[in-house]
């Protein structure tokens, strides 16, 4: 009887301690903040699989430890609303984002072997860019949650260069998953604004995806906030060739007719998927 009780006690205390679990989650959170530049408590909650207020508590702990700070952003759409106790009730006072301090960044860089981290100043230049970044984070978090153990890693564009040396745009996020014994990388592009091809913006974006398909990813997904924009992209992709654009001093960007267009040939033509999810029109990170 006594032995049984002892065994039960052992079972209760078996497994990792709460301290080590917190340390692991803190490490994941710091790396996440370092790679993306900033995030929101809700996204951290979803990333770490915590219940609703836990994300906020984690942020508070990080702030208290001097590893993170809260940043208020102009425009309510971008960030998370700060809650304060007003007359005994927690009330949203202003939207804010979580960023690493220099101390936190140093810690994160010690933990992350894959990248140095994002350039913060570049990432906070406008509410639309912040929204785009947070949308990418939400997509990554959801991808991780859906795949579970098969999720291997992520690499945001903010952690790398937005353009290659040849001037080719990089995908917004690279998501890696395990398929059997192999790894598969997917490029994710998120398009919030309706782009037009007047200055070749659409062709340049598709060229970036095609380059990624040819070099480092097996497939790519283009997510659009508006169905019309997505249809325009899809129609351009289905043409099977992408013209090359060059910058002219007189009229700006023009098609370079001296260079043959880049052909979209099998197996790359079917490797790009276009999607218009409804969450793209909301603020799911809030």
């Amino acid at each position: 009887m006594a032995d049984e009780k002892k065994n039960n006690r052992h079972q209760l205390i078996a497994g990792p301690s709460s301290r080590s679990v917190y340390a692991r989650k803190r490490e994941i959170g710091l790396i996440w903040l370092n790679r993306w530049g900033y995030s929101t408590p809700k996204l951290l909650e979803e990333l770490l699989g915590l219940k609703k207020p836990a994300g906020r508590y984690l942020v508070e702990k990080l702030v208290k430890a001097g590893e993170a700070r809260e940043v208020f952003v102009e425009g309510a759409t971008a960030g998370y609303s700060k809650l304060e106790l007003i007359e005994g009730k927690r009330t949203e006072v202003a939207p804010f984002l979580v960023m690493l301090t220099e101390k936190g960044k140093t810690l994160a860089q010690m933990m992350d072997n894959e990248t140095e981290g994002s350039n913060w100043t570049r990432q906070l230049h406008g509410t639309q860019a912040v929204k785009h970044n947070l949308m990418c984070q939400y997509a990554t978090v959801t991808f991780k949650r859906k795949l579970g153990a098969d999720f291997v890693g992520y690499m945001p564009e903010a952690s790398t260069e937005t353009e290659s040396k040849a001037g080719i745009k990089q995908p917004d996020v690279l998501l890696t998953k395990r398929v059997g014994d192999q790894y598969e990388t997917i490029a994710l592009e998120i398009e919030l604004n309706p782009k037009y091809n007047t200055h070749g913006a659409l062709d340049k974006a598709l060229r970036g995806i095609l380059y990624a398909l040819k070099t480092k990813v097996q497939s790519a997904v283009y997510l659009f906030a508006a169905g019309k924009t997505g249809e325009r992209y899809q129609a351009h992709w289905n043409l099977g060739k992408i013209p090359v654009w060059k910058k002219s001093a007189a009229v700006g960007w023009v098609k370079d007719l001296s260079v043959p267009p880049i052909l979209i040939e099998p197996p790359y033509d079917k490797a790009l998927s276009f999607s218009y999810p409804s969450w793209m029109r909301g603020t799911p990170w809030k």
Binding site: T142, P266, P267, K270, P277
Partner: protein, 211 residues
């Protein structure tokens, strides 16, 4: 008779007495020496004639029997010894006559022997001809056999050539098929890759759609 003897003696004496010469002995001796010299000359002439005749005869190709040729040639101003010439001529004629007679008498046996020899030769020739014919037949048969073999070999070679040509054609076709297969494999691999990528993209899209 006595008278005759007497008279002759008287006459002889008279003659002797009448022609008494004090150099008679020397003259006689000289005469005898001359006579001896003349005899010697005759003898030498005769000898030279004999030698010249012998020379003439010894060089004649017609004579069956002839004297041996003298070592020293005879002088040209000496006439031939006719007697010797005749002797040798007659002797050779006789020999020729004897030989002719012998030839005449021996013609029949010679002919018989000749006939025998001819028959034997014919038999031998026949035998040899037969043997040669047999050998020739055997050689012809061998040649025919060899020709047959050669014909068979040629036919076999042609067959082999045809087979080889068909193999080459088959190889070419196989190579073409291999290339086609490689192309099909390439296309299939590409199609498979395309399908895999398409599936991957669709799955990822579905993940984001479900959110």
């Amino acid at each position: 008779m006595k008278k005759l003897l007497l008279i002759s003696t008287v006459l002889l004496l008279a003659a002797c007495s009448k022609n008494v010469d004090p150099f008679a002995n020397e003259k006689c001796e000289m005469a005898s020496q001359v006579r001896i010299a003349e005899l010697k000359t005759d003898q030498l002439t005769k000898f030279a004639q004999v030698k010249k005749t012998e020379h003439l005869l010894c060089e004649s190709p017609l004579l069956f029997w002839k004297p041996a040729c003298p070592k020293t040639p005879a002088s040209a101003d000496v006439s031939y010894d006719t007697k010797l010439m005749w002797q040798f001529s007659l002797a050779n004629l006789a020999i020729y006559i004897v030989l002719g007679l012998l030839l005449c008498f021996s013609a029949r046996p010679i002919l018989a022997i000749n006939e025998l020899l001819r028959t034997a030769a014919q038999r031998l020739q026949k035998k040899q001809t037969s043997a040669l014919q047999n050998e020739l037949d055997a050689i012809r048969s061998s040649i025919d056999h060899a020709r047959g073999l050669l014909r068979d070999l040629t036919a076999e070679t042609d067959k082999q050539k045809d087979i080889l040509a068909s193999i080459v054609v088959s190889q070419d076709e196989a190579q073409d098929h291999r290339l086609e297969l490689a192309e099909i494999k390439k296309q299939a691999t590409s199609a498979l890759e395309s399908i895999k990528r398409s599936e991957s993209a669709a799955q990822a899209s579905a993940i984001f759609d479900d959110m």
